[in-house]
């Protein structure tokens, strides 16, 4: 018992140190989404002008195929970093990508796509106060959601998609979901 008391402060320190070390490696931006395994929120977003599409993005559009929903804005700096990878995904035809143009001037949003390339199948505009983004539990752009054939959200990625994240995490999930009826 005596000896145990001498070890106790060291043990307490060691346990705390483990927790703090673990805390250093965690990303505070990674907030677990509560929307996983829930249907895509009801939405009916207007199309982005100048893309030639007459319908924007609606809940029904996300049913039938496994797809990626990408939240972007022409004001979003990390989106510039992510964009070339989305273009590659589009070129390879891995999965259709839809976009929510969040809190953006539609004219700027359209000009941004014209300048950087347009990897999207459908684009819907979500003007302030970004009701659809809030329904998606979005905390910043870019954010991407994997939606299965039934229109259920299966995965959320916060921040720009890198080539590695696409190949190692997102694409395997999409392939797996495509196999399911």
């Amino acid at each position: 018992m005596r000896r145990f008391l001498y070890v106790l402060p060291v043990a307490v320190f060691a346990i705390l140190a483990l927790f703090f070390l673990k805390g250093l490696t965690l990303n505070p931006r990674d907030i677990p989404s509560v929307l996983i395994n829930r249907p895509v929120p009801e939405m009916s977003l207007a199309p982005l002008p100048g893309r030639g599409d007459t319908s924007g993005l609606a809940t029904e559009n996300l049913k039938g195929r496994v797809s990626l929903v990408n939240i972007y804005g022409s004001w979003c700096i990390s989106c510039v970093q992510e964009h070339p990878i989305l273009m590659e995904i589009k070129k390879r035809g891995d999965a259709p990508i839809h976009a929510v143009d969040w809190r953006d001037d539609p004219v700027l949003g359209a000009a941004w796509l014209k300048k950087n390339g347009d990897p999207y199948e459908r684009v819907g505009i979500d003007p302030p106060p970004g009701r659809t983004a809030v329904d998606f539990g979005v905390t910043g752009a870019p954010e991407s959601f994997i939606v299965d054939k039934a229109g259920i959200i299966r995965y959320k990625h916060v921040g720009p998609i890198s080539r590695e994240i696409w190949a190692k995490t997102l694409l395997p999930i999409i392939r797996e979901l495509e196999k399911q009826g």
């Binding site: 929307l35 809190r103 809030v134 905390t139 910043g140």
Partner: protein, 154 residues
């Protein structure tokens, strides 16, 4: 100088991010929105409430909270609307449930442990004081003590 300081202190009210154009016309409803806004976390800055934050998302959430209040939602309904989308994380005061048990009861348990340790420490002390007095000196020891004392006196 003193007057200037007093003036500065009077003007130094907490800076709220709420813009006049966001406010509800009904003061009672606006008050409710403020109180709710203090409890909701800004998800961009994370350690500020949406009432304190200048982030766009915080502004959007303030607007949406006010919309729901104007539509007749109760405070709990507004809160569960936001929690439904962002999880319990959005509440600055975490709810009391199974997953947060350690959070709420942890400090209490630590305090109880400390209290027990302190009490145990003090309970042991009187026992030490009550130790039996040493036996009286033997005749031999008294003689040696006298001798030693006499030597030092010289």
């Amino acid at each position: 100088m003193k007057r200037l300081l007093v003036l500065l202190f009077v003007l130094a009210t907490p800076a709220l991010a709420v813009n006049p154009d966001e406010m509800l016309k009904d003061p009672a409803q606006e008050h409710r929105a403020r109180e709710l806004g203090k409890d909701l976390r800004c998800l961009v800055c994370q350690n500020q409430s949406i009432d304190d934050s200048d982030a766009d998302l915080a502004k959007d959430l303030r607007v949406i909270v006010r919309e729901r209040i104007a539509k007749g939602d109760s405070d709990d309904q507004v809160k569960s609307f936001v929690v439904d989308r962002y999880g319990d994380y959005v509440l600055l005061k975490p709810p009391f449930k199974a997953t947060t048990l350690a959070l709420w009861l942890g400090p209490l348990a630590l305090f109880a442990g400390a209290l027990w340790a302190v009490l145990a420490f003090y309970r042991r002390r009187p026992a030490e004081k009550a130790a039996p007095p040493p036996p009286p000196l033997s005749a031999e020891e008294s003689r040696r003590l006298d001798k030693l004392l006499k030597e030092t006196e010289r």
